[in-house]
Amino acid sequence: MAMRLRIYRNIIKQGFQGMWRNRSMGLASVSSISAVLLILGVVLILILTINNIVLETKTKFDEIQIYLEDDMTNDDLDRIEDSIREMEGVLSLVFISKEQGLEIMKEGWEEEAYLLEGLEENPLQDSYIIQLVDIKYAEGIVSNLRFMEGIEDVKYYQDIIDKLMLVANYIRFGGIFIIGALMLVSIFIISNTIKVTVTARRREINIMKYVGATNGYIRGPFIIEGILFGLIGAAISIVVIKFGYEYFFKSVNDRLYLLFTVYLVAPSLLIKDIAIIFTAIGVGIGGVGSLVSLKRFLNV
């Protein structure tokens, strides 16, 4: 038992030592790993941002308008209001009288507003605007509303929403595909880098084998080295992305809001996820890459 412990201690010691003594090769590995993860991070943020813009834009159209029949009593209104509020997915409810409706219309028409002056009576109806918690509740609520008493018409922006949903889906699937592919490529490059550094030391591995070291004993320090390289590489890329994105966020966020009334994903949230993903990739590929690369040199 004590012997096993000693062997493990030795392996760890040699892992750190090996990293230090091969630092010139190591530097190349580490910087390649950081660079690849950096690319991954930028693309990840890019896709998340686009996705966010589309999803946020969609919520702008996330409302249902219902037109009421004429001559409703306040009791009728209360009844309708209550039963709508009870429905699942309703966020808020705003009453708009037909007078308010005409005012809004006039504002919206801007220069053509004078056309409305020619009207003899207000042709509009009282209405409610329902804000939804999420677009997914829309269909359920709309079909319920259609059967309610006192409601003449139900309108919501099915077209635009459907279109935006489609775009969002494309972006989501495309994004997942691109990020997935990119992750594979990154993993490939990182494991390639590890492989080259291991290959450069094949003679060393052979010598260890010839003096009687077991595969496990040889692997150990290499895996630790690989993990350390991965860890350092990941750490560097995380730090760069953190500061890079925070800077980007500061300088772009407000302008973006003016344009799309959409905000960027907050750095704190994003960075945490990226840190977890990158550390996993760095450490995982560093370790597993070393393991796999070693395999073909251990058979001597």
């Binding site: 000693r6 091969n22 260890m208 084998k209 010839y210 009687g212």
Partner: protein
């Protein structure tokens, strides 16, 4: 202890390095392996270490047919053999001390034991002053002696030395021979491939000669060989 039964070795490029070699070395023997350059001495040693596989024949080490052994077991076979390699095979990223200690670490030796034995063998090969040098900071003979120190540090039951004095001056060579002799005296089987005529002639040990892959002579208390050399 070491037995070769009609061993053949043909390399990929059709070089027949060993042809029907039969050899039996008993526990505790000291055997010189001689033969001209390219005769097949190192090949024979590589087969014992499972660095190469024989094309045919059987190799028995310690009553075990090592040609049939599982890959997983190879390291444990190698640990029973201390080897001085013709090309030294030192780990370039480890100091002299660490290179020797490495052989002990892999078998899980106690750190105290390592700290006691490594300096001891280094002083036996007269390298105490170079303990913290890296291999590429050493002279040829110094490298060779590190390889010797590493081979003997675990007091293995079998010691194989491939031309261990090729880079040493005669005086140092004799000191090394004394070390090997002592180890042999304590029961270790020693097989030494060499070109050092003087040493073979003076030591009066068993001599096995290989010529173009064939074992052509196996003499107790033999000499280096017939004197064709003229000045």
């Amino acid at each position: 202890m070491i037995e070769l039964q009609s061993v053949d070795k043909e390399y990929d490029n059709n070089v027949r390095a060993l042809i029907n070699v039969n050899l039996n070395i008993h526990k505790g023997e000291f055997v010189f392996l001689v033969g001209s350059s390219g005769a097949g001495k190192s090949t024979l040693i590589k087969l014992l270490l499972k660095e190469e596989e024989p094309t045919s024949g059987r190799i028995i080490l310690n009553n075990m047919d090592i040609t049939r052994v599982k890959n997983r077991r190879i390291p444990y076979i190698r640990r029973n053999i201390g080897v001085v390699f013709q090309d030294f095979r030192l780990l370039p990223n480890k100091t002299v001390y660490e290179n020797v200690a490495f052989a002990m670490e892999i078998i899980g030796a106690h750190p105290k034991e390592i700290r006691r034995k490594v300096p001891m063998v280094l002083s036996m090969v007269d390298l105490s002053r170079r303990a913290s040098s890296f291999p590429d900071q050493l002279s040829g003979g110094e490298r060779q002696r590190v390889s010797i120190a590493r081979a003997i540090v675990n007091s293995p039951p079998v010691l194989i030395a491939d031309e261990p004095t090729g880079n040493l001056d005669p005086e140092t060579a004799w000191e090394i021979m004394k070390v090997l002799s002592d180890i042999n005296g304590r029961g270790t089987t020693v097989l030494m491939a060499t070109h050092a005529k003087d040493i073979v002639n003076s030591m009066k040990k068993r001599v096995v000669e290989i010529h173009e892959g064939r074992l052509i002579r196996d003499e107790q208390k033999g000499g280096y060989g017939n004197e064709i050399t003229n000045i």
